[in-house]
């Protein structure tokens, strides 16, 4: 076996020579190939029909690389597609930046690429350009990904926190906290009776259904790090209005809730990768909810609360027992409790 036949990433895979060419052709293009990517030019040429372009980027450093319900590849595609989708945009093309650590098994690399391809297919978007760097062993966690995405904005999209008004309804498309707990369980080697699975999913298809139907969405945001709490606090800060949510209306999987209780986490602050918070006028809420529930990624959608013109502008939770408490965005990394 020569060094070029190794089953692990070596520095030469990033050296710009024949080994790098083979890595790109035999692994990356093999997994993600499409007419634009296959040209392997310095940039991809996109046809643009005019109108505003939405452009975003995000980097992914999750550990472990694979967790129940997903992996770093699926996250990288879903995260960027969702960042576009919550702006009311349809993803058109993605770039994929790969930073891989010397020593990573090529089989792992290929599994991640296959996952990128599957998620991109699910989202209806292509990876059209990219970049690969190999870093010295010990300088990374195996694999980091960056995805940038461009999208065309839907003609019916007009989301702006300034349009939020008192009385508006707050919806979420399904159960909260599943992704954060799934990653935490994989990271800490925790086994739960009922496994908690990440919710990572591209939401652009579901959001397009709402926009196509003419639902007047005032504001949308995907509830990633910082969880539902983070988005609700953003809504309060940007609109100047109070948010009131009701605990008994929150969609939560019993297994996720039990795991969060065990670890001492508040599910409101736990990360999601397939959940969007939607603010609509109260009269639009039921129709929006029905449309959401008709989509695979929104079958557990719920109306969880409302905007109110009370001051000071706070996010408040009415607990299942009828109590009230303030909800704030988490401060830094959440850590499991001790006992």
């Amino acid at each position: 076996m020569t060094s070029t036949d190794t089953e692990r990433i070596v520095r030469a895979h990033g050296g710009g020579g024949e080994m790098m060419g083979r890595l790109i052709r035999e692994h990356i293009v093999a997994a993600l190939g499409n007419p634009r990517l296959n040209t392997l030019l310095d940039s991809a040429v996109l046809d643009w029909s005019g109108g505003p372009v939405v452009f975003t980027t995000d980097s992914y450093v999750v550990q472990p690389l694979f967790f129940p319900g997903g992996d770093i590849g699926r996250l990288a595609v879903c995260g960027t597609c969702n960042d576009l989708a919550v702006m009311g945009a349809t993803p058109v093309a993605l770039s994929l930046g790969i930073i891989v650590e010397e020593g990573l098994e090529l089989s792992v690399f290929d599994r991640v690429l296959a996952s990128v391809a599957a998620a991109a297919d699910e989202a209806g978007v292509s990876v059209v350009t990219g970049d690969t760097k190999v870093i010295e062993r010990g300088r990374g966690d195996g694999l980091y990904l960056n995805t940038a995405g461009v999208g065309s904005i839907h003609s019916g999209a007009n989301t702006d926190p300034k349009r939020i008004a008192a009385g508006d309804a707050i919806l979420v498309n399904g159960t909260i906290g599943d992704h954060g707990i799934a990653v935490m369980s994989a990271r800490n080697d925790l086994e739960f009776e009922t496994p908690v699975v990440s919710d990572a999913a591209p939401l652009n298809g579901m959001i397009a259904v709402l926009l196509d139907a003419g639902v007047k969405i005032r504001f949308m945001r995907d509830a990633t790090r910082g969880g539902l709490a983070g988005v609700l606090v953003d809504i309060t800060e940007q609109s100047g209005l109070s948010v009131e949510i009701e605990e008994h209306l929150l969609p939560r999987r019993p297994a996720t809730l039990a795991a969060a209780e065990m670890l001492g986490f508040d599910l409101l602050s736990v990360a999601n990768e397939g959940k969007v918070v939607i603010v609509v006028a109260a009269e639009d809420a039921e129709r929006c909810l029905k449309l959401l529930r008709g989509h695979a990624h929104g079958k557990d959608a719920a109306r969880i609360g409302r905007l109110a013109d009370t001051q000071p502008a706070l996010v408040e939770l009415i607990t299942a027992g009828g109590g009230r408490r303030v909800v704030q965005r988490p401060y830094g990394e959440e850590l499991p409790r001790i006992c």
């Binding site: 800490n188 080697d189 925790l190 008994h248 209780e261 001492g264 508040d266 009370t310 000071p312 706070l314 408040e316 939770l317 009415i318 607990t319 299942a320 027992g321 009828g322 109590g323 009230r324 408490r325 303030v326 704030q328 401060y331 830094g332 959440e334 850590l335 499991p336 409790r337 001790i338 006992c339």
Partner: protein
């Protein structure tokens, strides 16, 4: 709304109506504190029932000298520190374990002692030191790790012993002249291990109502009802409203493990000082697993920030909002004391759930 919780809140209000004066109960345990805040129970309490937090947050009561010792250990060549989560943020005299990690120390957050021991097994060329904090809930797992390491001949594993026992701290609190309480809401998790009977000396010696409760809103309210009823009737009894989980005698296996590996010693608690027989030291036959001995580290004296009132908070002498640092200089991002660091800390709970003080519909009944 949860009908059961609603009915229990109504019952608590009825019992409170019978009280001849305002009473103050202490929830000893940090998990109780957070549960009370998170479920919005404070807003449901009658005005005549006050709650104060006690010394039951493992991070909050760990003396600064133990944090400093952990930091000193993290600076040793070849040492891997394995610790439960919140401990990495608690400031010692020269920063925190988190800061040390930023400076290059190998500090790993683990979820169990099993993971810490596994780290030692996988890194035979490194010395793994587990920061052994917590009460009777976490101490049996530490005992198991020591026994496993002993049995398997793992020589690169040791612990920084900083476990504490709850009942001696409750006794020390009641023995303080300036602490006035009308009852204890006793911790559920600790009681699983030590058993409800462990609080009987507290009831007898101090004529103090003690009620063991779990962490669900309904169970906490049931515990408060039992305490309010005793207070109204002028009685002091031991009750257990968490009997589905907590037995009278506790978990004998866990207690036997503790007894095999540890022996009670006087230890220093943050703010409470040295309390007789309130800590756990390794018995001589396991002394080689003591990191302080192995690395010849002598914990120094505590030098807490002069304006920080964490000590008064965890003894129920004051509330976080009475501290000049609270919410201004001291926040979860810039904590001065452990009560703002720990996810179970009272200051942290106040800041997260109560900071604005203007929560609508609140009856405002905390002492």
């Amino acid at each position: 709304m949860n009908r059961q919780v609603e009915q229990l809140a109504a019952t608590l209000n009825c019992e409170a109506d019978r009280l001849r004066h305002r009473v103050v109960f202490m929830e000893v345990c940090g998990t109780h504190t957070v549960s009370i805040f998170r479920h919005g129970l404070r807003a449901m309490l009658p005005a005549s029932v006050g709650l104060v937090s006690g010394p039951g947050c493992p991070v909050c009561v760990t003396a600064q000298r133990h944090i400093d010792a952990a930091i000193e250990l993290s600076r040793q060549e070849g040492v891997v520190i394995a610790t439960y989560g919140d401990m990495i943020r608690v400031p010692g005299r020269s920063g925190s374990l988190e800061k040390q990690r930023g400076l290059g120390a190998d500090v790993r957050v683990v979820q169990s002692t099993r993971s810490a021991l596994e780290l030692a097994r996988r890194n035979p060329d490194r010395e793994v030191v587990f920061i052994a904090v917590g009460f009777e809930t976490t101490a049996p797992a530490t005992a198991v790790a020591v026994l496993d390491a002993c049995r398997d001949g793992v020589t690169n594993f040791s612990i920084l012993p900083a476990h504490k026992l709850v009942v001696p701290a409750m006794v020390a609190l009641l023995a303080s002249e300036d602490v006035r309480l009308d009852g204890f809401l006793c911790p559920g998790h600790v009681s699983v291990v030590i058993g409800a009977q462990a609080y009987r000396p507290v009831v007898k010696r101090f004529n103090m109502p003690c009620v063991v409760a779990g962490f669900e809103p309904a169970n906490i309210l049931a515990g408060l009802i039992a305490l309010a009823r005793q207070a109204a009737d002028g009685e002091a009894r031991l009750e257990n409203v968490y009997s589905a989980v907590v037995t009278d005698e506790g978990n004998r296996v866990a207690c036997t493990l503790l007894d095999e590996v540890f022996e009670p010693v006087d230890t220093v608690w943050r703010a409470l000082g040295s309390i007789p027989d309130s800590g756990l030291a390794l018995r001589p036959k396991y002394a080689r697993f003591d990191a302080l001995t192995r690395f010849e580290i002598v914990p120094g004296e505590d030098e807490d920030h002069p304006a920080c009132r964490c000590g008064e908070v965890i003894t129920g002498r004051t509330t976080p909002d009475q501290c000049a640092l609270f919410g201004a200089d001291c926040t979860p991002l810039t904590p001065f004391g452990p009560c703002m660091v720990s996810s179970e800390g009272t200051c942290s709970a106040w800041y997260k759930y109560e900071r604005h003080g203007a929560t609508k519909g609140r009856k405002g009944n905390r002492q």
